[in-house]
Symmetry: C2
Subunit: 280 residues, 2 copies
């Protein structure tokens, strides 16, 4: 795959890492960065995440052969619609948003002829934010999910797959709804649970929070605004995942209340098997 | 501090690391290892965690000036009582168990004159087990909690504090009950929550469990037997901590059910503040 101009909308951790990775493999002739935060964009350019900063979203996307939206999930659809009308025929638009169904529903029938949007979600990231934390190998060996719909052309899906593969990712195709249900369980619920746990720690016990507490709550340091938007976008699937978690907590509660050591050991053993299968 | 013979009962990750750390700083003239698993003891000796293996618990502890019990919490009190009767006057016994009140209650009035037991809990460890994972710096900069009671002499408490400090730890004194309530929240509840979450992951979604899921569930790989004993020993405090967690989960549930974005953002923001204050 070879891209003339690659435009990155939102050059934070993810967008900045896409720029670095694309540069490293020579994926694009020119990498443009755009977004709302002029200071952050200038940092991204200075640190070599993008070749050029373009302040106007429409201008930046109009010049693109491929544009990838790395903005909060509640901003993506609006920005795509706003900027797609000026795009040349054959432009591929994709994103890196953590939810997919809401975004794709919002875009249905609203793109100009010859411009494709294919939803993506690279499963990479960190509780850290900003282009200064970007790395060229953020996607290497990681999974990127690409979510075709009936509206997306096979050719556009194939280019999207090639795009993430060029950055080092493995790709899996899923429907947007299947993606959202899966990520509710593997990403959104863990964030909620980590936040619920972190919120319980009083300042006087901070010193007693060792590795276990730190690991278990690490993602609670993520940006509350981004995560509020993710929960709002994927509300139904998160509520379903939360209900399953509440059932499991109730099983632990029952085992504790009734001093059922065998039941507790069973729950812990089953969890250990799952966790061991994941590796470190 | 200088110890003639240091006996380590249970030479796994914690016991093995005590041996390595004590050797590095030249804390003892001789380090004995004992325990139920002869193969594991031999590994510990071969890897330099202890100088000598003694198969009989009583023999090993009788020779000690200081003995530290690094066995499961439901084994410690029995082993201490069994082996203390042969000890010489002035022997200091301590432990590394994750719960304290039950152990100290079980020992109350059951030690021979001139032999002191002071409860300890170094907040260090890992989901990994066995002497092969031991490291000499496991306790460096970590907190070790020492739990005096009315039965413990000031001199014995002072020696216990010096012991952990010699291995590089910082020491904090707490009552056994205060320790157990605090650890229920900072360690035992996180283990329960991580296990509840890990247990929900079906095999077909394993590939989608990225850094966030892995961090949040890492401690669920811990030994189910050890943790069942910890939960049984500290049942009341864990149930209390779990009730607080259930309340917090209910607050998230309410915010999701009512699409209360501000409420959700508040919960996430409060959690982020706590987590940020902990550092990485």
């Amino acid at each position: 795959m070879r891209i003339g101009t690659l435009t990155i909308v939102g050059v934070g951790l993810i967008g900045g890492s896409i720029g670095l990775a694309a540069r490293r493999v020579g994926l694009a002739d020119c990498i443009l960065g755009t977004g709302r935060n002029a200071a952050s964009l200038e940092t991204a350019r200075r640190l070599g995440r993008v070749d050029e900063v373009v302040l106007g979203l429409g201008d930046a996307v109009r010049r693109a052969d491929v544009a990838v939206f790395c903005t909060p999930v509640d901003a993506i659809a609006g920005q795509v619609v706003e900027s797609a009308c000026g795009c040349k025929e054959g432009t591929l638009l994709t994103d890196a948003g953590s939810t997919k169904a809401d975004i794709l529903r919002a875009l249905d029938g609203r793109l100009p002829h010859g411009v494709d949007f294919v939803g993506s979600h690279p499963l990479a990231g960190s509780e850290k934010q900003g282009p200064e934390h970007a790395t060229a190998d953020l996607f290497v060996g990681r999974l990127a999910i690409v979510t075709p719909t009936r509206a997306t052309s096979d050719a556009a899906v194939a280019r999207t797959v090639q795009f993430w593969q060029a950055l080092g990712a493995r790709v899996r195709l899923m429907s947007p709804e299947e993606h959202d249900r899966a990520l509710a369980l593997t990403s959104h619920l863990p964030h909620l649970v980590a936040s619920a746990l972190a919120g319980l720690l009083p300042p006087e016990l901070r010193d007693l929070a060792a590795t276990g507490f730190r690991d278990t709550t690490r993602i609670a340091a993520g940006d509350p605004g981004l995560w509020t938007a993710i929960f709002a976008h994927n509300r139904d699937a998160v509520r379903e995942a939360l209900a399953r978690f509440e059932d499991r907590i109730a099983a632990f509660r029952d085992a504790l209340d009734t001093a059922d050591r065998l039941g507790l050991a069973d729950l812990l053993t089953q969890a250990k098997k799952v966790r061991d299968a994941l590796g470190s």
